[in-house]
């Protein structure tokens, strides 16, 4: 079972993420340790593909307790994060490395 699992991992590493084409695409930019836009409206009940572009020279960690997500984004780097499908509501997120300024919220409707 373990072998099958690791085989799966390597196979997954080699193939592009197949389902990505069908998903909605949302962009977030990190600049001066702030998220732009700080408020993101997304449809509820759908899987969301978010692309985060860090324009700062320092790394940042996108984190959200309510979304149960955590991901480091290198300085001047990009990252893809999948969330959802979400129930309607507010989901706060923040940049753990610069919590005072890097705050934002996803609103699912």
């Amino acid at each position: 079972m373990k072998n099958i699992f690791s085989l799966f991992l390597f196979a997954a590493a080699l193939t592009p993420v197949a389902s990505s084409a069908a998903d909605a695409d949302y962009n977030l930019v990190i600049k001066d340790h702030r998220f732009q836009p700080a408020e993101l409206s997304v449809p509820a009940g759908k899987k969301i593909k978010m692309s985060i572009d860090n324009k700062d020279a320092t790394p940042e960690e996108f984190e959200s307790h309510s979304l149960n997500r955590e991901k480091v984004i290198a300085g001047n780097g990009k990252a893809i994060i999948y969330v959802g499908p979400l129930e309607p509501g507010r989901y706060e997120f923040f940049g753990e490395f610069n919590k005072e300024t890097a705050q934002g919220v996803i609103i699912a409707k």
């Binding site: 079972m1 373990k2 699992f5 690791s6 991992l9 997954a12 590493a13 592009p16 993420v17 389902s19 990505s20 998903d23 899987k47 593909k49 692309s51 020279a57 320092t58 790394p59 940042e60 960690e61 307790h65 309510s66 149960n68 997500r69 991901k71 480091v72 984004i73 290198a74 300085g75 001047n76 780097g77 990009k78 990252a79 893809i80 994060i81 999948y82 959802g84 499908p85 753990e96 490395f97 919590k99």
Partner: protein, 271 residues
């Protein structure tokens, strides 16, 4: 400064708890300390390399390389912990009898030690690389507060190590009769928790379905970012909002390792 201390504390704590439990669990195995230090050093060097190549790792597999990397590291650690527990199930009684003396067969002791080194190294690698990135960000930012924040980081690191050591020292107080049963159980839960985390990363990367996300929400009772939640997360893989798939991984690893331990504990002459 205080915020920095807490962030570093959380990262270090997770690795420190793993190291504390695994060190206690390998009590009495010959050459253990040397392998432990080797694992620690390899993990530290590795976390520097991983931190420096964050961008490269992230760009693999259409932007989800980081999740894959974490899931693979966790998967290897789960395999190693499983191996450890199965090995202990057949040798634990012997080690307990002789208490702090040598493992019966040196080559077996060595393979057990290399597993220890790998688990320690992987734990440090994963948590360490985030800490390195975070501290690098502080050091690279302008302003006079950088030194105070780095000092906070040092305090957080020491506090994390202190907790890990307390767990180790506390476990050593358990009477020998129950000692390997207790550490075996802790390692089992550690492995299941890691499997759940691996599933979490694969879901975040959209490589496996979440199956009910979240399955439950206990964040108001035990928030994951509270001290109790953090401890539970590191010890038994607690997640306040787990996806169904994480629970499946957790239970499956629990079942497979327990079964392996039961098989290994049977007297050899059967068959």
């Amino acid at each position: 400064m205080f915020g920095t201390a807490i962030i570093v504390f959380r990262e270090v704590l997770e690795a420190a708890i793993i190291i504390g439990i695994v060190s206690a669990a390998t009590r009495g195995v010959v050459g253990r300390t040397r392998w432990l230090i080797a694992g620690l050093l390899a993990g530290l060097i590795g976390s520097g390399i991983v931190a420096a190549s964050t961008d490269v790792i992230a760009s693999f597999a259409s932007g989800v390389g980081q999740e894959l990397f974490n899931a693979i590291v966790l998967g290897i650690a789960v395999l190693m912990l499983a191996w450890h527990n199965v090995w202990m199930a057949s040798h634990g009684a012997e080690l307990a009898k002789k208490a702090r003396t040598v493992a019966s067969n040196i080559s077996e002791g060595r393979s057990e030690c290399s597993i220890l080194m790998l688990v320690v190294g992987l734990a440090v690698l994963r948590e360490g690389s985030e800490t390195v990135l975070f501290l690098y960000g502080i050091a690279a930012s302008e302003g006079g507060s950088a030194r105070a924040m780095l000092f906070g980081g040092l305090i957080g690191m020491l506090a994390g190590v202190a907790v890990g050591y307390s767990i180790y020292a506390g476990l050593l107080c358990i009477p020998m009769r129950w000692f390997f049963a207790a550490t075996g159980l802790l390692v089992l839960l550690l492995a299941a928790g890691m499997a759940s985390s691996a599933a979490h990363f694969l879901i975040q990367a959209d490589l496996i379905p979440a199956l009910a996300s979240p399955l439950w929400d206990s964040s108001s009772a035990f928030p994951e970012n509270g001290l109790f939640g953090i401890l539970l997360h590191s010890l038994i893989g607690y997640d306040a909002r787990p996806a169904g798939m994480q629970v499946i991984f957790y239970v499956a690893v629990l079942a497979v390792i327990s079964f392996g331990m039961k098989l290994a504990a049977k007297p050899r002459k059967s068959i």
